[in-house]
C-alpha cells in the first residue's frame, strides 16, 4: 500500500515538475524571511537591553507601587521622650491627624488602651498587635509566629530585639535589624519600625479611603449614599450652605483625589480630541474634493494638495504640538490644532481616495438631467461618500482621545499633565491608578460611542474604507 502511494506521488511529481519547484522556492523564501526575523529579534534583544529586565526590575518598588494603588495606610508615631503623645495620621499627612480637637475626629477603634491600662495597642487587620510602652514595644499575637517579641532601647539609646540571640532564623523572618533601626514587616500590610528617637507604625488597609469626602470634610462620617440621602433632608449639616451644595463642593474640593481638578482636566482632554477631529473634518472636506481627479481637472492643484496632505501628516503631531505649544501656551488650543493639523492630512488623503473610488454612474445620471457641476457633485458623489466620511472621522475620534492624553503630558495640560504630576510626587499612587482607570474608561467610552454612532448613522460599526 505504502509503496504504491510512493509510486503515485512520484508520478504526480513527474507530471507537474514546475508546480513542485515553485512550491519549494516559495517555502525556501518563507524560511529565509523567518530566519531573518529571528536574527533581528535576537539582535533587538541585546541592543535594547531586554536582557537587563531582571536587573532593572526592582520587585520592592513594584510591590510598593501596586500596594499603594489599592490600599491606604495610617501612621502611628510615638516619640520615646514623651510616650503618651502618640500621633495617628492618615498616610502620615500632618493635616490629617486623628484626635485633633479642631477637627473633631475621633481616634479609630483599632487604637486603644491595653488591658493593663499602661500600654497603648495598635491592632492590625490580621489581629496582630503592637503594644507601645514607655520603654519598649511588644509585638504580640501575629499569626504564623509562635512567640511574641519585645523591642527595647539599650543603654546607648539604640533599639534592639530582646533575646534575639536565642531565636532561630525561622522566627526572625520579617525582621530587618540595623544599627539604628529595628524593622518588623511580616507582610506588606504591617510595618513596625523602631528608631532611637521614635517608633513608627504603618497600618495598611485595602481600599481607597476618603475617595468621596476628604479627611477634614464635614460629610466624612457619612458614606456616599448616606450623604446623597442627606441632600434631600432640610436639616443642614453646616449652617452656611444647603446640603446639596455642600455635597457637590465637598466632592469637588476633595484634597486626596482632587475630583474637581481631575474631571476638569479630563474635560479639557476630551475637548481637545473632539474639537480637533471636528476641525480636521471641516478642513479636509473641501480640500479632499479639490484633490480628487474626478472633481478637479487641474493637475497642478491636485498635486499640490496631495503633497500638502503628506506634509501635514508627515510632520507628526509631536512636532505640531511643539510649534503650537510655543504659540498658544499650555491649554486645549495646542491640542486642538495639533490634532487638527495632523488629521487634516490623514482624513484629506482618505476622503479624496474615497471620492475617487465613487461610482461614476450616479454622477452621470444626475448629469443627464441637465444639472450643473455643483449639483452633480452634491447629488452624485456626496450621498456615496457621506457614510465613509462619517465612519472615518468617528474612527479617528477614539485614537485622538488617546493622542490628546499624550499631547497633554507633553505640556498642553489636561489629564496627561495631571497624571505626570501625580506620578512625580512618588507617593500618590492611588491617584495615579484613579486617573489611569479614568482615562481607560473614557477611551473605551469614546470607542463605544463612535461605534454606536457609526451603527445608527450608517448601519455598520465596521470601518468602511471603500
Amino acid at each position: 500500500m505504502s509503496s504504491s502511494l510512493a509510486i503515485q506521488r512520484e508520478n504526480i511529481r513527474k507530471l507537474f515538475p514546475d508546480t513542485f519547484k515553485q512550491a519549494r522556492k516559495s517555502r525556501l523564501r518563507g524560511q529565509i524571511i523567518f530566519f531573518l526575523v529571528l536574527v533581528y529579534l535576537i539582535v533587538g534583544f541585546f541592543t535594547l537591553d531586554v536582557v537587563d529586565i531582571p536587573k532593572k526590575w526592582k520587585p520592592q518598588n513594584a510591590a510598593m507601587f501596586v500596594l499603594d494603588t489599592y490600599a491606604h495606610k495610617d501612621h502611628v508615631t510615638m516619640k520615646w521622650e514623651n510616650h503618651e503623645d502618640i500621633k495617628i495620621a492618615f498616610e502620615g499627612n500632618y493635616r490629617s491627624v486623628y484626635g485633633r480637637d479642631n477637627l473633631d475626629k475621633s481616634i479609630p477603634d483599632w487604637f486603644y488602651k491595653n488591658s493593663d491600662n499602661v500600654g497603648n495597642v495598635v491592632e492590625f487587620n490580621n489581629k496582630g498587635k503592637a503594644i507601645l510602652y514607655k520603654d519598649k514595644v511588644e509585638i504580640v499575637n501575629f499569626p504564623k509566629y509562635e512567640r511574641d517579641f519585645t523591642i527595647k532601647l539599650n543603654s546607648n539609646g539604640k533599639p534592639y530585639l530582646v533575646g534575639s540571640e536565642d531565636l532561630v532564623i525561622e522566627d526572625l523572618k520579617g525582621f530587618r535589624i540595623t544599627e539604628n533601626r529595628v524593622e518588623f514587616r511580616p507582610t506588606l500590610y504591617e510595618r513596625i519600625q523602631v528608631y532611637p528617637k521614635k517608633v513608627e507604625i504603618h497600618r495598611y488597609s485595602i481600599g481607597w479611603k476618603y475617595f468621596w469626602f476628604d479627611f477634614s470634610s464635614p460629610l466624612e462620617p457619612y458614606t456616599f449614599f448616606e450623604a446623597l440621602g442627606l441632600t434631600f433632608s432640610k436639616e443642614r449639616v453646616v449652617p452656611e450652605m444647603s446640603n446639596l451644595k455642600l455635597f457637590l463642593t465637598e466632592i469637588k474640593d476633595n484634597e486626596a483625589f482632587m475630583h474637581g481638578r481631575v474631571w476638569w482636566a479630563m474635560l479639557e482632554t476630551i475637548v481637545m480630541a473632539v474639537l480637533g477631529t471636528m476641525f480636521a473634518t471641516v478642513m479636509a472636506l473641501p480640500l479632499s474634493f479639490l484633490a480628487a481627479y474626478n472633481v478637479t481637472p487641474i493637475k497642478a492643484l491636485r498635486f499640490t494638495l496631495r503633497r500638502l496632505f503628506d506634509t501635514l501628516r508627515g510632520i507628526d503631531f509631536l512636532i505640531w504640538s511643539l510649534i503650537f505649544l510655543r504659540a498658544f501656551g499650555p491649554g486645549p488650543f495646542t491640542g486642538i490644532f495639533a490634532i487638527g493639523f495632523t488629521d487634516t492630512g490623514t482624513l484629506g488623503k482618505l476622503y479624496s481616495e474615497a471620492i475617487e473610488n465613487t461610482e461614476k454612474k450616479q454622477q452621470e445620471g444626475v448629469q443627464s438631467t441637465g444639472a450643473s457641476k455643483f449639483l452633480q457633485h452634491r447629488f452624485g458623489i456626496i450621498p456615496q461618500i457621506l457614510p465613509i466620511f462619517v465612519s472615518q472621522s468617528l474612527y479617528y475620534l477614539e485614537s485622538n482621545t488617546r493622542g490628546a492624553v499624550i499631547i497633554g503630558a507633553m505640556g498642553a495640560g489636561g489629564i496627561g499633565l495631571q497624571f505626570l504630576g501625580a506620578l512625580a510626587t512618588g507617593n500618590d499612587f492611588e491617584n495615579v491608578a484613579y486617573m489611569a482607570i479614568l482615562v481607560l474608561a473614557v477611551v473605551i467610552f469614546m470607542d463605544r460611542l463612535s461605534a454606536w454612532l457609526r451603527r445608527i448613522l450608517i448601519g455598520s460599526d465596521q470601518l468602511i474604507v471603500r
Binding site: 533587538g44 474639537l275 508627515g314 491649554g331 497624571f419
Partner: protein
Amino acid sequence: MTKALPANLEQIEVNLKKLTNQRTRSSLLGIAILILIFFGGTLVSLEANAGSFGRGIANFFNYPRDLFVDTFEMGWKYWPRVIKYIPELIITLNIALFSTSIGFILAIIFAIFSSRNLIRNKKVIQFTKFLMDVTRSFPTLIIAMVFLYLMGKSSLPAVIAITIHTAGALGKLFTEAIENCDGKPIEGLSSVGATWTQKIRFSVLPQVLPLFLSYGILRLEINVRESTILGFVGAGGIGEMLAALIQWNYGADVLACMFLLVGTIIALDYLSAYWRHKLIGANQ
C-alpha cells in the same frame, strides 16, 4: 380598483413627506448638537488656555521662523549636524521595529483565542476580548510612564508600552480578519481529520497572513511616531534628544531632528503604502 390607486398614491405622498420631514429634523438636530459641542468646547478651551487665542494665532509663525533663521545662519556647517542625529533616529526605529515584531506575535496568539470560528469556549473568547480592549485602550504614554518610574531611565519602558498596545490593537484587527476568512478550507481539512493546529496552519494562516502583514506594516508606521513621543518623555532615542535640544534652545539642531523625523515618517508612509499594495493589492 380605479379609486384605490389615487388613494394609494396619496398615501405614498404622505409617507414621503413624513420621511423627508423626519430626515430634515434629525439632520437639523445633529447639526445643532455639533454646534453646541463646538461652542461648549471653545468656551472650555478659552477658560483653560493659558494664553489668549488671538495672540496665539499671531505668534504661530514665530517659532518656526526662529528655527529657520537659526539654521540659515549656520550655512553649510549645518549638514554634519543632521548626520550627527542619525544614530538617535536608529534607536527610535529599533524600538518601534522590535516592539512591533513582539506585539505582532502576541496579537496572533490573542486573535486565535478570540476568534469565534476557532474557539468554541465562549468564556475564553470573552476574556481575551476584554484583555485586548484594555491593552488597546491605555495610551502608551501612561504605561511607559509607570514603567519609567519603576525601572529608571532606559528604552525598555517604551518597548514594553508599545508592545502591549500593539498586541491589543493588532489583535482586534486580526480577530476580524480570522472571523471573516473563508470557512470552506477549514471544513475541508476537518474532513480529512486534521488536528486543530493543522487546521490553523494550513487553512487559516495562508488566508490571513497577507492581511496580517499589511496591518503589521501600518502599525509599524504608527509605532515609529509613538516611540518618538515616548522618547520625548524620557525613553531615549531621537525624541529625548529633541526634548533636550528644545530646552537648550538650539534652534538649528531642533530643526535638524525635525527634518530627520519628517523625512523618516514620509518615507515610511510611502514604503508602507507600496508594501501593502504589493501584499493585498489594495490601498486599505
